[in-house]
């Protein structure tokens, strides 16, 4: 490979069946950038349609991109690509984990690690720069992620970054994760590692990510981003309370720092204070997430904020709650957002305050996150709790679970808001104890096995977005048709934040609309929250731009929970961010000049490849009819209201048909079926993909 900065040039392929390691040149994937792009191409080329997630023929690709480990803000994301067992077709999905793993993989010298085959015995992969070995993992097989990680670290060295599965992954629970660090987990693929008897990957790296630009150029571009473009978590650019330096404020903003709000459990409480937009030495205080997630009670239990390598935002709350030890877990807990909310949501009848007024959510979340994260249980973006609620309230559980097992489950704890219920819950799911443990199958398989009624799928409360069994996640509640379209595009919840970050920025609607006009052609691309209008072509452009950036970030890799920099907190910039910043950093690091438009084309290529792969795996071109589906509540909720009136997110069926058509048109896909056409695939330099689909008669 030509001496370019960014990529290491090396991909490691590990065959667990033979124990053989081979190395490949990354350059053949260059126009797919890295990360997700590499993952989808390998899956497309090497894993036959019809393969199931736990089949030996399935592969896993842990991939990074040219910006990973380059010190660009928010650039330590690992993209994991494989088949998804909770999906009805076991279709491809990508999961992601932050933390340090991705950066360390680059410093060890690898752009990606491909895992194939099956080990006869439990092993862990030990990588120290160029030295790669498979080691016996029987000493940690059967243990949770925390202990396994510590045990492995004591053998390979304290500085190693270790990604591991817990008992859930070992037991091939569909809803299981792979986790590195204490709280950075990738959802849905844990069981695949388990099926291959791969307990963990430990990496140490003493090498470097090279860059073509000078250190000074790198420094200056970073300063440009950090001193007036970057905001707070989710690129919210407005503080949550009135502050002298800010024109606007928004209660829902994650820029929660203010006078008197502290990291209360630090050695000496540290004030977050008023963090103005150009002060780069206070970026790490902007997002005080613990009180945002749990309420005021959490302040005095917050040690600090934490997060991923190279990211100044620090969006994980690191808590010290001594009373947690009463539940038999550590007093220390870390996580953010759904990592806390989904265990709390398993307690669907609420949690009672445990030790002081208002601590219910905090205790439920920090207890539950430790259990879930140590066992390595995933949640299908929180739906596991809503599945439980439905199963319980519909009387299904009583029907399907044998009486003796049913009586052994502490239902009284669940109904009385005692969060120690979670100790029993996660154990059963992770260790596959009894019929109840099928809660870990995922909504689709669970509904099938326990014969849930149609009302399960139609229910707004259950909140499943798609008949494929995944929930809403910045869907119709995020930008009307834009969020709705995006939510149909993947084989699980979309994990796409481009549009939501922009919608939630905190700026007034007229400022947002003027930015929307510049980016996507018209103010009508963006509706005001909960005040929707019928579909138009500009919304299709906004949706396309959003998903392309999402795929690009998962390939570069950058954190899509922060990027792109669509807005900025500075009035002097007219609140405009810099959407060319990805391409500027990439040009600087690699030495190859690439424009914003050219880079977006790569994103389009990667996303279309995903589409082609989905077509291949489902064996049909009828994406509109078989894949891009929405549950009934999306259209039938708020029965006393009409769609496109203020105060409802209710969508309209005929309108969504048009919405998908317009989106297919934007993407250059067949407008009837939503399948990629040969013309588009060839335009995107995916001729080989077109040829393969053609052979399988899967071109529209």
């Amino acid at each position: 490979m030509a001496k370019l900065g960014g990529w290491t040039g090396k991909i490691l392929r590990v065959n667990l069946t033979t124990g053989v390691f081979t190395y490949e040149d990354t350059s053949k994937y260059k126009n797919l950038v890295g990360g997700m792009g590499i993952g989808y191409k390998i899956m497309f080329d090497e894993v036959k349609a019809g393969t199931k997630a736990f089949d030996p023929a399935n592969k896993m690709i842990f991939a990074t991109g040219p910006l990973t480990g380059s010190g660009v803000p928010c650039s330590s994301r690992t993209n994991i690509t494989s088949l998804l067992p909770s999906n009805p077709y076991n279709a491809v999905s990508d999961s992601h984990m932050g933390g340090n793993f991705a950066a360390v993989m680059k410093y060890a010298g690898y752009d990606a690690i491909i895992i194939e085959g099956v080990s006869k015995k439990p092993v862990y992969l030990n990588i120290k720069d160029a030295k790669v070995t498979l080691e016996d993992a029987s000493f940690v097989w059967g243990q949770g992620i925390y202990n396994s990680t510590a045990q492995i670290a004591s053998r390979v060295g304290k500085e190693a970054c270790i990604a591991a599965i817990g008992q859930a992954g070992e037991n091939m629970v569909n809803l299981s994760v792979i986790m590195n660090g204490h709280s950075h987990s990738a959802g849905g693929h844990g069981g695949i590692m388990g099926s291959k008897k791969l307990k963990a990957i430990a990496i140490s790296g003493t090498g470097s990510v090279k860059m073509a630009g000078t250190g000074e150029e790198w420094y200056n571009l970073n300063q440009y981003m950090l001193k007036g473009i970057i905001g707070a978590n989710n690129q919210h650019v407005v503080p949550s309370t009135p502050q002298p330096w800010a024109e606007y404020n928004n209660k829902g903003s994650r820029w929660t720092a203010k006078k008197g709000l502290t990291w209360g459990a630090a050695n000496e409480p540290i004030e977050t204070g008023e963090c103005n937009a150009t002060d780069q030495n206070k970026i790490g205080y902007r997002t005080m997430k613990s009180t945002f997630d749990f309420g005021d009670v959490a302040e005095k239990y917050t040690v600090r904020m934490g997060g991923c390598q190279s990211c100044p935002i620090r969006c994980h709350s690191e808590m010290d709650i001594p009373n947690l030890e009463k539940f038999g877990v550590s007093r220390y807990a870390s996580n953010t957002c759904m990592g806390y909310f989904s265990p709390f949501g398993v307690m669907f009848n609420g949690v009672k305050d445990q030790f002081e007024k208002g601590d219910a959510k905090m205790i439920g979340g920090t207890l539950g996150s430790q259990l879930a994260d140590d066992y390595g249980v995933w949640c299908n973006y929180g739906n596991i709790g809503r599945d439980l609620k439905y199963a319980y309230e519909s009387g299904t559980l009583k029907k399907v679970i044998p009486a003796e097992e049913y009586d052994s489950i502490p239902w009284d704890k669940l109904m009385n808001g005692d969060p120690s219920f979670l100790i029993d819950f996660y154990k059963r799911v992770a260790l596959k104890i009894g019929e109840f443990s099928h809660m870990g199958d995922g909504s689709y398989w669970l509904a099938k096995r326990w014969k849930f009624g149609q009302e399960f799928w139609d229910s707004h409360d259950v909140g499943l977005w798609s008949p494929l069994g995944f929930p809403k996640h910045h869907s119709s509640e995020a930008g009307a048709q834009v969020g709705a379209i995006l939510s149909c595009m993947f084989n699980r919840d979309a994990q796409s934040h481009t549009h939501m970050n922009f919608i939630g920025s905190g700026l007034p609607i007229n400022v947002q609309k003027s930015i929307a006009k510049e980016k996507w052609g018209s103010e009508t691309a963006l509706d005001a929250p909960l005040n929707y209008t019928p579909m138009n072509e500009y919304k299709a452009k906004f949706a396309k731009w959003s998903v392309i950036r999402n795929c690009l970030h998962d390939s570069l890799t950058l954190c899509n929970w922060m990027w792109p920099m669509t807005t900025s907190p500075l009035k002097s910039r007219n609140y405009r961010g810099d959407t060319a910043l990805e391409s500027k950093f990439l040009s600087l690091v690699t030495g190859e000049k690439i424009s914003e438009v050219q880079l977006d084309l790569a994103g389009e290529r990667i996303f279309t490849l995903h589409r082609a792969l989905t077509v291949k795996q489902m064996g049909t071109t009828d994406m509109r009819g078989k894949h891009d589906l929405m549950c009934a509540w999306v259209f039938d909720m708020d029965p006393d209201k009409k769609a496109f009136t203020p105060g409802t997110i209710k969508m309209d069926r005929a309108d969504m048909v048009i919405a998908l058509t317009m989106f297919y048109k934007e993407m250059g896909w067949d407008e009837k079926t939503g399948a990629p056409t040969r013309a588009t695939l060839e335009r995107l330099s995916l001729k080989d993909v077109a040829d393969q689909l053609d052979k399988l008669k899967l071109l529209p």
Binding site: P244, W245, E247, E477, T645, G647
Partner: protein, 179 residues
């Protein structure tokens, strides 16, 4: 007037603005500035004329005159501080609710008014809510409540009731379902 003394005054104004506070003319009589009234007038005249200090803004209240830096304090924030200084709190509440309903658009959380620079106490909020009901000129200011008990105000000039109710619920509860 020495340039040094003027710079000291400007620095004080700018620092106070960073901290969310105006400087009143009479503050310049006090320590550590300790200027006489005549000198205060001279200083402010000099400041007004110097392009380097173009960020220093004067605002005239009923009794007091205020100074702040629009580099360190935005106009929006200054408008709030002005009303607080002038003790026009009910007016401030109503203006804020109307502004938010029109601009973002969104209903206003009542908890906003306990934050700086509002700093209303509970009794004040109660009194204002009573007065709003009583005074016809504020009949557009209405209340909503989220399912978690949080209370909001909105202006019916800019938001329908349905819209305000739905937005209240979204801000307080629904958005946390998809964090």
């Amino acid at each position: 007037m020495e340039k040094e003394s003027i710079k000291v005054v400007v620095d004080l104004i700018r620092e106070s603005s960073s901290n969310g506070k105006f400087i009143k003319y009479e503050d310049l009589n006090k320590e550590p500035i300790s200027l006489k009234d005549d000198d205060i007038t001279k200083v402010i005249e000099n400041i007004t004329l110097d392009p380097e200090y173009a960020d220093i803004v004067k605002r005239q209240g009923k009794e007091h005159s205020y100074l702040y830096s629009n580099k360190k304090m935005t106009e929006n924030y200054a408008s709030i501080v002005f009303r607080v200084e002038e003790k026009e709190l009910l007016k401030l509440l109503v203006e804020t609710v109307r502004y938010e309903s029109k601009t973002y658009p969104r209903p206003t959380t009542i908890s906003l008014f306990s934050e700086s620079p509002f700093n209303f106490n509970n009794q004040q909020v109660c009194d204002f809510l009573k007065q709003i009901i009583e005074k016809g000129e504020y009949s557009d200011i209405l209340k909503t409540k989220a399912s978690n008990g949080s209370e909001y105000l909105y202006s019916s000039k800019y938001l329908t009731n349905d819209y305000a109710v739905a937005l209240t619920q979204w801000i307080e509860v629904d958005q946390f379902l998809t964090p």
